[in-house]
């Protein structure tokens, strides 16, 4: 598959130099260069010759060709429809070679790009300042300057916002209802669904949920029973104060390929008990000790404790334990847990980023598939989906895969993420999308924001 990009003329870097096709080649090869040791090699790995170059076996990436100053041609190993979405990921941003070489390791502290705002200063743990870039290709932005303040304590941020010192803020945990009831704040509230899923994973290589016979009827019934035992509404209403959408499957509702007809598992303790009995564990008898792990966080702890209580209702006793993030990731990679919680927020809006990354057998462990779920039929369906160009056919493959996954129940999908922020009423031009989160406005065009006061 070949993509030919015509590069817009007159796009300038913040240092004044015009952006040319060769800058794309340089920036992509910089990530792929083994000397860079980038952890984002996967962004470009589908380009022809990328792997050879990354291993140091080739001098250049054969799939990246600069035809002239304003034409770039990318050739892929084989058809991979998510590619254009992947190219929007921030590791594919273009950087000017002269600045990278000038600053070396310190380039991270002196970033230069082509966006509407240029970097001014970064006082670590205090603030980042950017200011308007007059030569921005769409014309200069409305705002003269944006200051991003770093305030670790959510209560402090909230006070700064209420005192009028911040234009936008996230809502401290446990305060959402209060904000909703507040005459002023409720009018400044914005809520929107984002592309994320919160789930409990079963380890498909460990007893009692998995193992060599993970595919047996009994084990499947055990996992399904656990799914039926969870009252997702209670979790969303009690702990998240309504900020979440009940999850039936893996894909969040706004993701292309989302299947509104997917049944999933609704709260049905009777059915859960029946399935548990059929699995050979009537009222939980005969189950080995089970530990449910989560990474340390107040909200996760509350969710886990509610899940623990709900599972106890059908007779399944689990112990809840937490670990800090760094230790947690390592344990997940090697598949240490029987049962764990995780969440995933899209890197780019394509179902491949959820289904293939999180549930393809090839990505088991560090690749993203923390459940070590490896069903050859699902793998095959996902491979075909990832390489099919026509969307309708692709979608059908993904739906098929998601249905099989749902039946096998390697996860207990809990909820899809919701984002909420407060934005001052005089801030105009805010268009938050499913790719923006409350603290990270990734897609929001900053050049369109203006202040009406």
């Amino acid at each position: 598959l070949v993509y030919t990009f015509n590069i817009r003329r007159g796009v300038r870097f913040h240092n004044g130099r015009e952006l040319k096709a060769d800058d794309f080649r340089y920036s992509f090869e910089r990530v792929l260069n083994p000397k860079t040791k980038s952890e984002r090699v996967w962004v470009f790995e589908k380009i022809k010759g990328a792997k050879e170059f990354n291993k140091g076996e080739a001098m250049a990436v054969s799939g990246i060709e600069v035809l002239d100053d304003y034409t770039l041609r990318l050739t892929l190993e084989k058809g991979f429809p998510p590619f254009l979405s992947v190219m929007t990921y921030n590791s594919a941003n273009v950087v000017p070679r002269e600045e990278v070489e000038r600053w070396g390791e310190d380039f991270t502290s002196h970033p230069v790009g082509t966006g509407p705002f240029k970097f001014v200063e970064w006082v670590h743990d205090d603030h980042v300042t950017v200011e308007k870039f007059d030569d921005y290709w769409k014309g200069r932005p409305y705002l003269d300057r944006i200051i991003f303040r770093v305030i670790p304590e959510e209560a402090t941020r909230f006070e700064e916002y209420k005192a009028g010192n911040l234009e936008h803020v996230d809502i401290p945990s446990g305060q959402f209802m209060q904000v909703k009831a507040d005459m002023v704040l409720s009018k400044e509230l914005r809520e929107w669904a984002i592309l994320g899923t919160y789930y409990i994973g079963f380890n498909m290589t460990k007893e009692p949920f998995g193992g060599r016979d993970w595919n047996s009827e009994n084990k499947r019934k055990l996992r399904q029973a656990m799914n039926y035992a969870i009252d997702r509404d209670a979790i969303i209403n009690v702990i998240l104060e309504g900020r979440g959408i009940k999850a039936a499957g893996v894909l969040p509702p706004l993701m292309p390929g989302y299947n509104p007809k997917l049944q999933g598992y609704s709260y049905d303790p009777e059915r859960a008990r029946t399935l548990l009995r059929e699995a050979g564990y009537a009222d939980g008898r005969g189950l080995p000790p089970i530990t449910l792990y989560h990474n340390t966080s107040e909200t996760h702890r509350k969710v886990m404790e509610l899940i623990q209580a709900q599972l106890a209702q059908i007779g399944v006793r689990v112990e809840v334990r937490s670990m800090d993030w760094a230790a947690y990731l390592k344990a997940l990679d090697v598949g240490e847990f029987q049962m764990f919680r995780l969440g995933w927020i899209a890197d780019y809006p394509d179902p491949e980023n959820f289904l293939t990354v999180l549930l393809h057998g090839r990505n088991s462990g560090a690749g993203g598939n923390a459940a070590f779920y490896n069903n050859p039929v699902v793998n095959q369906a996902l491979d075909r989906a990832d390489n099919t160009v026509v969307w309708r056919e692709r979608e059908a493959f993904y739906r098929h895969a998601e249905e099989l996954i749902s039946r096998d129940a390697p996860w207990i999908p809990i909820y899809h993420y919701f984002s909420t922020v407060l934005v001052k009423p005089y801030v105009k031009g805010v268009k938050l999308s499913a790719m923006d989160t409350s603290t990270n406005w990734l897609v929001q065009p900053l050049e369109e924001i203006w202040l009406d006061r």
Binding site: E105, D126, E153, T156, E160, K162, L329, V357, N363
Partner: protein, 319 residues
Amino acid sequence: LLVYIVRRLFATVPVLFGVTLVIFILTFVAPGDPVLALFGQPRADPETVASIRREYNLDKPYPVQYFLYVGKLLRGDLGRSYRQRLKVSEIILDRLPKTARLTVAAMVIAISVGVIAGIISAVKQYSFIDGIVMVGSLLGVSTPVFWSGMMLILVFSSVLHDQIPLIKYIPRLPISGYGGGDLRYLILPAAALGLLSMGYIARMTRSSMLEIIRQDYVRTARAKGLAERVVIYRHTLKNALIPVATVLGLTFADLLTGAPLTESVFAWPGMGRAIVAAVQVRDLPVVMGISLFFALIYIFVNLIVDISYAYLDPRIRYD
């Protein structure tokens, strides 16, 4: 005295090595992989992870890693942050003045308020003021910074401020941040941090004063007709401050370690914040560097305290 100082300084070398070893064991051997924590799990390709690990020497056995670290340390190289790619020495130099400002200001507040309150309540023992000071100091000692900090923000700088009688006439203070060095930004965090030691210092001054006031020479001073003010300031206070000086040294260390919380509540960009963030992502060179630096300060402050005894009590000699 000079000989004493030099000897003490030499003695710090083995202490510092002990510190490096303990911190090394705690950070490097603790569970959790810095490379995974930092570099985007999932999807970090195993070969890349391995090469990053090689770059940072994390693939070598722990003792080898330790000696490599100490070897660099002896050449004055604290290494580079895994996460920010900045030199650890640069991070410390950037953060130190900010934490120092906060700590020193907190000390000044704690000492001035604490010592004065202590003197007053000692002189007016069992009076109403004494009662207030003692209850207040108890509250100060037992209130965690994140609570007292939030309360200070609510009272002095939030929207609520405008509704509190009397206080509403004081201009609102900034809530958080460094403000590029603006002194108004320093007041609340310094007060919150100082509050912790203030009560301690007040109680210490009071009990030490009370003890001295009952000494014979104070009675003699009073008997020869000296003014009460001279008795208190010249004869009592100076002697009463010796135990307080010890406490001050320890207090300073307490403040340094208390700084991470205060810095979080008030978004103060100091060393405490840097080390907390570094621990979370296992940014080992930063954790090691800042911990070592804290240890160094601790040792140094204790040295100063010991030396200050000589000034406060001429009977103490160093030889």
